[in-house]
C-alpha cells in the first residue's frame, strides 16, 4: 500500500491507500475521490484524469511519455507539473504522494 493524497481545487485533502501496481487514477475512482473523471478508463485517450503533481514528488513520478504529452494538449490549464493520473503507476516509492486535481476536467 502507498498513501496518496488528492487535494481538490477548493483545497480539501483526501488521503487514501493506493494498491501497489494500480494507477493514481484507478486509486481515485476506487475510493470515490472527486475531481477525476477518467472517461476513457485509463487508455490515455481522454485527458479527463489530469492532476498536478506536488513539487516535492515531481522527480519520483517522472516526466510524461510523448503519448501522454500529446494527450495533455486536450487538458486545460496545463502546467509543468501536469500529469495524466492514469499514467502514474503506484509504487512503494510513491508512498506519501500528493496530487492536486484541476478545477474542471472537461
Amino acid at each position: 500500500m502507498a498513501k496518496i493524497t488528492y487535494i481538490d481545487a477548493g483545497g480539501i485533502a483526501r488521503p487514501v491507500d493506493g494498491e501497489i501496481g494500480s494507477t493514481v487514477m484507478e486509486t481515485a475512482i476506487k475510493n470515490g475521490v472527486p475531481g477525476i473523471e477518467a472517461e476513457c478508463g485509463g487508455a490515455c485517450a481522454c485527458s479527463t484524469c489530469h492532476v498536478y503533481v506536488d513539487e516535492a514528488w515531481r522527480e519520483k513520478t517522472g516526466e510524461p511519455s510523448p503519448m501522454e504529452e500529446d494527450m495533455l494538449d486536450f487538458a486545460f490549464d496545463v502546467k509543468p507539473n501536469s500529469r495524466l493520473s492514469c499514467q502514474i503507476k503506484v509504487t512503494e516509492a510513491l508512498d506519501g504522494l500528493v496530487v492536486t486535481t484541476p478545477e474542471r476536467q472537461a
Binding site: 472517461e39 487508455a43 485517450a45 481522454c46 479527463t48 495533455l72 494538449d73 486536450f74 496545463v78
Partner: protein, 346 residues
C-alpha cells in the same frame, strides 16, 4: 428528389452508431426492418472508434482478441447486407410522437425523419467538443467563439485565433489562413500531435509571415455582447500578452455529454441512464427502446456483449410495431434459408 425538409421515412431510427447501434441493424435486418443511424461523430463506432481504436478487447464472445477499430470494422461487414443508411456529423435534437407508434425526429442540421420505432443507442451520451474553462466564455459561444466550423465564410476577413495542437486545430489553420484577415495559432507547447505534414505547412506559413504562432494558453477573453476583441495568452515563461481577435476556435478534443437525450421526456436514473424493461429493452414509452450503455435495469453491465443481447430482444418487440399484422417465427441463421437469403449467402 426529396424536397428540403421532407422527412426521411424508415422502419427504425437508431440514435447512436456505437457498437450496439451497429449490431442492432443486424438483428433488425434479420427481421426485415430497415434502419437509419444518426451519430454526431463523423465515423461509426462510438467509444470504440473515438476513445480506444488501437486498444485491445478480449471479451467479445467467440473473439479472443480484437481492437476497438477491429470490432467496428467487423460489425460494419456484418451489417453490410442490410444496407443501413448513416447520417454522420449530426446531432439528434428533438423527438416527437406523431402516431401509435410513429415518431418524428429532427437533427441539428434540420434533417427530418419519420420512424415507427426509435432505438436510443446513445451510449455515454453524444461526443461534444470540450469547452475550455476560460472565465466568462459562455456569452461568446456561438457568436465569436466556435467549437466547429460549419461555414468557412463566417471567418472571411476576420482576425482569427485558433487554439490547440491536434489535427482539427492544424487542419482549420491551413484551411482558414487564406481567407482570414490574420490568423494566430495558439498552442501550449512548440510540439504538435497533428500530422507532421500539416505541421510543416503551418511552420512554412509562419516563416513566410503569413500567419502567427503563439506558444501559451488562453487565460482571459476581452470584448462585450458576445463579440470578442481580444484574448490574453499566458506564455510558457508566464508572461501575459493580449492578442487582438474577433473570433476564436478552440480545439480540445471531444468529451461525452448526455446532451439532447435528457430533453426527450424519458425518466432518467441518476440523471443519465434510461430505465428499460428487460423483456424487450423498451422504455416507459411504447415504441422507444434504449440499448447499450445508455440504459439501466437491475444487474446492468456496461459491456458490449450485454448491448448485443439487448439489441436482439429489442428487435423481437420492434417487429410487432413495424409489422402489426405479421406473426414472428423464430429462426436460426445456421438453418433458415430465408435468413440466409437476407444475408446474401443462400
Amino acid at each position: 428528389m426529396r424536397a428540403v425538409n421532407e422527412p426521411i421515412k424508415t422502419d427504425v431510427l437508431i440514435v447512436g452508431a456505437g457498437p450496439v447501434g451497429l449490431f442492432a441493424v443486424f438483428e433488425l435486418g434479420l427481421l426485415d426492418m430497415k434502419a437509419h443511424l444518426i451519430d454526431i461523430l463523423d465515423k461509426p463506432g462510438g467509444q470504440c472508434a473515438e476513445l480506444y481504436p488501437e486498444k485491445p478487447i478480449y471479451d467479445i464472445p467467440g473473439v479472443p482478441y480484437t481492437t476497438g477499430h477491429g470490432l467496428v470494422e467487423a460489425l460494419m461487414a456484418q451489417i453490410k447486407p442490410f444496407g443501413p443508411a448513416f447520417h454522420l456529423g449530426e446531432m439528434v435534437e428533438t423527438i416527437e410522437r406523431i402516431g401509435e407508434p410513429m415518431f418524428r425526429v429532427a437533427t441539428d442540421s434540420g434533417k427530418l425523419f419519420e420512424a415507427k420505432v426509435l432505438v436510443i443507442a446513445a451510449g455515454g451520451g453524444s461526443f461534444q467538443p470540450k469547452k475550455p474553462p476560460i472565465p466568462g466564455i459562455d456569452p461568446y459561444e456561438g457568436k465569436s467563439v466556435f467549437y466547429a466550423v460549419r461555414k468557412m465564410d463566417v471567418f472571411r476577413d476576420k482576425e482569427l485565433l485558433i487554439v490547440g495542437g491536434g489535427d482539427s486545430a492544424l487542419d482549420w489553420t491551413l484551411n482558414l489562413q487564406p481567407i482570414a484577415k490574420r490568423l494566430t495559432l495558439v498552442h501550449r507547447r512548440d510540439d504538435f500531435r497533428a500530422a507532421p505534414d500539416s505541421v510543416n505547412k503551418m511552420r512554412a506559413l509562419v516563416a513566410q509571415g503569413a500567419m502567427d504562432l503563439k506558444i501559451g494558453q488562453v487565460t482571459a477573453l476581452h470584448g462585450g455582447e458576445g463579440m470578442l476583441t481580444g484574448a490574453t495568452v499566458k506564455g510558457s515563461d508566464g508572461a501575459l500578452a493580449t492578442l487582438a481577435c474577433d473570433a476564436m476556435l478552440p480545439f480540445f478534443g471531444l468529451t461525452m455529454k448526455l446532451g439532447p437525450v435528457a430533453n426527450w421526456g424519458l425518466p432518467l436514473r441518476e440523471g443519465e441512464l434510461i430505465p428499460v424493461d428487460t423483456a424487450s429493452f423498451e422504455t416507459d414509452q411504447p415504441g422507444i427502446f434504449a440499448i447499450g450503455d445508455i440504459n439501466w435495469y437491475p444487474g446492468k453491465l456496461k459491456l458490449i456483449l450485454s448491448g448485443f443481447h439487448e439489441a436482439a430482444l429489442m428487435a423481437q418487440k420492434a417487429y410487432h410495431y413495424v409489422f402489426p399484422d405479421k406473426r414472428l417465427v423464430f429462426q436460426y441463421t445456421t438453418s433458415s434459408t430465408s435468413l440466409q437469403k437476407k444475408l446474401g449467402v443462400a
